[in-house]
Symmetry: C2
Subunit: 194 residues, 2 copies
Amino acid sequence: MTARTDAQLAFLAEADALKTVHRATTLHDGSRSENSAEHSWHVALHALILADHAGPGVSIDRVIRMLLLHDIVEIDAGDTPIHGQHDTAEQEAREQAAADRLFGLLPADQGAELRALWEEFEASESPDAVFAKSIDRVQPALSNLHSGGHSWREYDVTLAQLEQRVGTKVARGAPALWTRVREMIAPWFTAHGK
Amino acid sequence: MTARTDAQLAFLAEADALKTVHRATTLHDGSRSENSAEHSWHVALHALILADHAGPGVSIDRVIRMLLLHDIVEIDAGDTPIHGQHDTAEQEAREQAAADRLFGLLPADQGAELRALWEEFEASESPDAVFAKSIDRVQPALSNLHSGGHSWREYDVTLAQLEQRVGTKVARGAPALWTRVREMIAPWFTAHGK
């Protein structure tokens, strides 16, 4: 039991570094950039609160577990801003290497189980993963709305681009939620001629 | 559905402020104080990873839900450092007022359900709440170990005080975990004559 506990504590200590990974979004008050650890808490809370929007067969508890883990690879691989340019293949290779290292810290059975959950999230095909992705995309859109459009300004985003990069993914798992959030967000783009 | 969604989104927007509540503990690298949102993520992850240590009848998914919500009242009431001096009755009154306001933002049925979950955590009597409290106490002890004893120095804590304030609570829900963590922590106190 001690070796197992030590492996688990080593993973949890390493996980602390997710608090130092900065994202493109800011806090709602605009005071600083959000980090990936507090983002992970906020999306897990979104899943819990917005559970009504999940489709049939979705387990909110599995979605929450996925969201607690979904960004853990960023400790090694960094965050990839939704509206930024990046080399997808290179980013995926970095994330797979990070997953090897990080899930490899855990006891083998637990590492394999949680890596499978992370891979399921990344594949975005199961009902749980589709809803988790919707939540992961809607939270930064709401943050940008509340912070006065921080990332939208920084990356010069149009409403059409937001629809494609964010809206389609939110709508896939939570269509009524996207309808409502789009209504809340659209005036900002109109006001800014975007 | 729209009024319900709007109430949920209002709660989630208000929750963003938990990212601005500072705790006594620092990140493991000592670079800055930890905030209550990233702490909430980290304890939820601890519950997931250390689930082996939960007693019979504990639902890890309910524990995770509790831990996602456990500090939400700090948005209004602030954090109470484990090793600091405070007026318990006054703090409880502030937290109850915060719970009224924050859970009151949600649709009535959901607000009542989640407030009951928070009250269950606070009461620390059910098996789920006892394990959640163990996890909430062990994570800052591990943070202090990794940061070189930050809060232990700041509050001049002895191992006997740590046993009483932290050890008894961790051991109540996860006795073997405390045995192991105590072994990891004790040398720091010996080395510092505490």
